[in-house]
Symmetry: C2
Subunit: 128 residues, 2 copies
DNA sequence: ACAAAGGACTTTGCGGTGCAAAGCAAAAAA
DNA sequence: TTTTTTGCTTTGCACCGCAAAGTCCTTTGT
């Protein structure tokens, strides 16, 4: 990875390339006003400790904002995607797509047929 | 990730989810008779040490076979995708695709337009 | 009023791993 | 013969994901 850092794989930002953070970011992608800690935990199927740690990591990278307030008398943490986080994550997703297309090409070439994501990965792309 | 292990993200096999191994497997996907250590190293842009370690990991997972022979008087390591490795990696790629589609849906929903991978990630998918 | 239970997180400990640098053995070059 | 190059493997360390434990407050019995 170090010798030619201009391939699509080198753009796979480590910060997002972790399954737990991938799912966190995907959840946040669908929101406008952020999500509470507990909702996010349940939606992602993560343990409290895990989510806490990953959120800290994402906050350090300025991908999210973490607002602490109260709901009634209980503490309530709200997680919100930052604009930079949204932009960076979209860039990461595009890099992922490039990786996928590259692999699809390889398989197609080996089988001597034209590259076709649909026939490689099934009919789901028909929706696009 | 531990609470509901039935989401597409939980299928992102760690063994393949490492950028270096992702590129290694993608390279192998295009081959029939395997690749030499040095060719693979150059194609992937990895250092010797790095490639060696990742190959050992992939071999332990039975994703590849490593054949050692001689070319003339020099040692020559040939790396070959196993059938299981090919199958498992294809499954991983499908999981990746599901993640991508999920994210695309989230973005589309937030913007109030129908899900469309093409418009999210650019025109490259038009080839499919 | 007091104790026990529950909620909302955070911190700790550790096993695993990616990476670069160093090491090694054989062959080719000088 | 000494040096350099080739073709790898091993070592060391710093980082990191994860589960378990801990903290602090609130609510619910009794």
């Amino acid at each position: 990875m170090s010798r030619n850092p201009d391939n699509p794989y080198s753009k796979l930002e480590r910060i997002f390339h972790e399954p737990a953070r991938l799912i966190i970011m995907s959840q946040l992608l669908g929101t406008v006003d952020g999500v509470t800690f507990t909702d996010l935990r349940d939606a992602c199927g993560l343990t409290d400790g895990n989510l806490s740690r990953h959120l800290a990591t994402l906050e350090r990278a300025k991908a999210i904002r973490i607002d602490k307030s109260f709901a009634g008398h209980r503490p309530q943490t709200t997680v919100c995607l930052s604009q930079q986080g949204r932009d960076d994550f979209m860039a990461y997703l595009q890099a992922l797509e490039a990786v996928l297309l590259d692999a699809a090409d390889k398989v197609a070439a080996r089988q001597g047929r034209p590259a076709s994501l649909r026939s490689l990965f099934g009919p789901r792309l028909a929706r696009a």
